[in-house]
Amino acid sequence: MNDNLKIADKEFSSRLFTGTGKFSSNSLMSEALIASESELITVALKRVDIDNEEDKMLQSILRPNIHLLPNTSGVRNAKEAVFAAQLAREAIETHWIKLEIHPDPKYLLPDPIETLKAAEALVKLGFVVMPYIHADPVLCKRLEEVGAQCVMPLGAPIGTNKGIKTVDFLEIIIEQSNVPVIVDAGIGSPSHAAYAMELGADAVLVNTAIAVSQNPIQMAKAFKMAVQAGRMAYNAKLATVKKHAEASSPLTSFLQ
């Protein structure tokens, strides 16, 4: 059975999306990305030399079946984000954009007001908008209404590796969403990724946990497997958690 993830007009067989920051070299990054089997890879526009067609980082990522997702990391408001997205569209020739607006450079927490404004403007300009946001169920619905093709709520502050700290809100978002929900930020171990997938997230985005591990290639594989296992478990319908023991031979079994 085909269990591909569809976002806008594209299908992805892998539900692990990856990032490109923090690696110790482009070659190691390239090998780790290959090992992850990720088909959607995000790259910070500010790291790309858009005037250079031979940009080393981009060259390390580009392969057949890889979809490049430029992100607007570094912008502080909607106006800058829209401009950055247009630059990216011109330079990288994609109308997909990962919308990141975090005016606070310390914790990189997303600005919900500017994000909503930018998402609306970018959708009107023909972009496929993938907004990085706090795990706010109402904001997710608002983004859906303005035409965002998915939502990317955080599991924990970006880069912290703390795991899924926003579980109560992610559950609501997953329950209510009509667009794919991609848990982005805070995922620090394969078990976190598996957990997010078991919750019913459509995909996860992982960067730091792979890039700064002792063995990024092996860690990328581990994440790939964890995402697959988590998705499989979700599809298999997890047994429910109960407060009381349930005897295998119930006391009322004599009743017909």
Partner: protein
């Protein structure tokens, strides 16, 4: 918002602060190291003499914290001195007004010649440096220099005389990214001794410069003290106090800390309080343990050996092959430098050192045309 750092700063007494740092115990250090979030009292413990036996623990934690937040990367930048004209007397500086040296301010053609050399080395983040000569090297000159080079660099930082808020706003519109402004020392009386003449002698105006920058909305502010002018422990504490105040007040701004130590130069000032290599490592690690996100920068003042090792212990940005004289790269390498550099390796050698150490030198990490 008229409050500035001065109102916070004035509630502190230098001697009492130093006494408080020296009163920290082994238990205070162990407690600071055991915490996930550390405050300024923890910072005092980490820069205290009691922390000396814990240096390896601090280094290990600092390395892990830096790696988690910044990954295996080091941001590369290069300084370009535009002018050595200066109306200030500073006891420690080669550009000091009383030093009889040939003065030079780069022309357009000379600036372009310099950046041709710098670009050939791969740099995309540049730091423009001047002395303080407002008539010849004022805002119009700085702005013009920025306009001249901004298409060649993604990220422009300046280290020039303190300016007014509206002047910073003007430069930010011209795509200025960051400003470095070092207090030199937070000790008022010593500051006066080292800056007897010129606009720089105004301690408060300099102290409030980051406030004006924060209000102007600059992307990044760089802080620091010139270690050696006064007690490095107290100056480190006041730098940290300044950082924490700014982070709370101007929350959209990024911050960086630099760690210049007095070096031999034509003025010949010897450090009043020596900061050894161990002390410097302790200070760098203490800043990282205080703040996981602050950028920590290391110039070529330090030796090659020291820099080879410190890049793993908290440092996030590095300059290389620096010339500290106007025209030093290509125009007139013979003019007097502001201070002697210690690590004289080429950019390529530094990049290889980083790569061989498992770190990626990052040349571009900004786009200056979004705003």
């Amino acid at each position: 918002m008229n409050k500035t750092f001065q109102s916070t700063f004035d509630t502190y007494n230098w001697d009492e602060t130093l006494k408080s740092i020296h009163s920290k115990t082994t238990q205070d250090v162990a407690y600071a190291l055991s915490k996930n979030k550390r405050d300024l009292e923890d910072f005092k413990a980490l820069i205290s003499p009691a922390a000396a036996p814990f240096l390896e623990d601090m280094a290990q934690l600092s390395m892990a914290s830096t790696k988690k937040r910044f990954g295996n990367t080091i941001q590369m930048y290069v300084p370009m001195y535009l002018s050595n004209e200066c109306q200030n007397i500073c006891t420690y500086c080669g550009f000091s007004m009383t030093n009889k040296i040939p003065r030079r301010t780069l022309t357009d053609a000379e600036i372009l010649k310099e950046i041709t050399f710098i670009k050939s080395k791969g740099y995309d983040h540049i730091l423009l440096v001047t002395g303080e000569a407002n008539k010849t090297v004022g805002v119009p000159y700085i702005k013009h220099a920025m306009e001249l080079i901004k298409n060649q660099f993604s990220n422009i930082t300046i280290e020039v005389q303190p300016l007014d808020q509206d002047e910073y706003e003007e430069l930010i519109k011209a795509e200025l990214y960051a400003v470095l402004v070092y207090q030199e020392t937070y000790h008022r009386d010593e500051y006066k001794k080292h800056h007897p003449k010129g606009k720089k002698s105004n301690f408060n105006y300099r102290l409030e410069t980051p406030d004006r920058l924060g209000k102007a909305g600059v992307h990044k502010i760089g802080l620091g003290a010139l270690f050696g002018l006064e007690d490095w422990r107290a100056d480190s504490f006041f730098t940290a106090l300044h950082l924490k105040y700014l982070q709370k007040t101007y929350w959209k701004t990024k911050y960086s800390i630099s760690f210049p130590r007095l070096r031999p130069h034509s003025g010949g000032l010897e450090p009043k309080v020596e900061m050894t290599d161990k002390h410097l490592v302790q200070t760098i690690c203490a800043f990282r343990l205080l703040d996981e996100d602050v950028e920590l920068s290391m110039s070529t003042r330090e030796s090659a050996t020291f820099r080879n090792n410190i890049v793993h212990l908290g440092i996030t940005s590095l300059s290389a092959e620096s010339k500290t004289n106007p025209g030093g790269y290509a125009v007139d390498p013979q003019t007097l430098e502001q201070f002697e550099i210690s690590d004289e390796r080429s950019t390529e050698e530094i990049a290889h050192m980083l790569t061989n150490s498992g770190l990626e030198p990052v040349w571009k990490d900004w786009s200056n045309n979004w705003n």
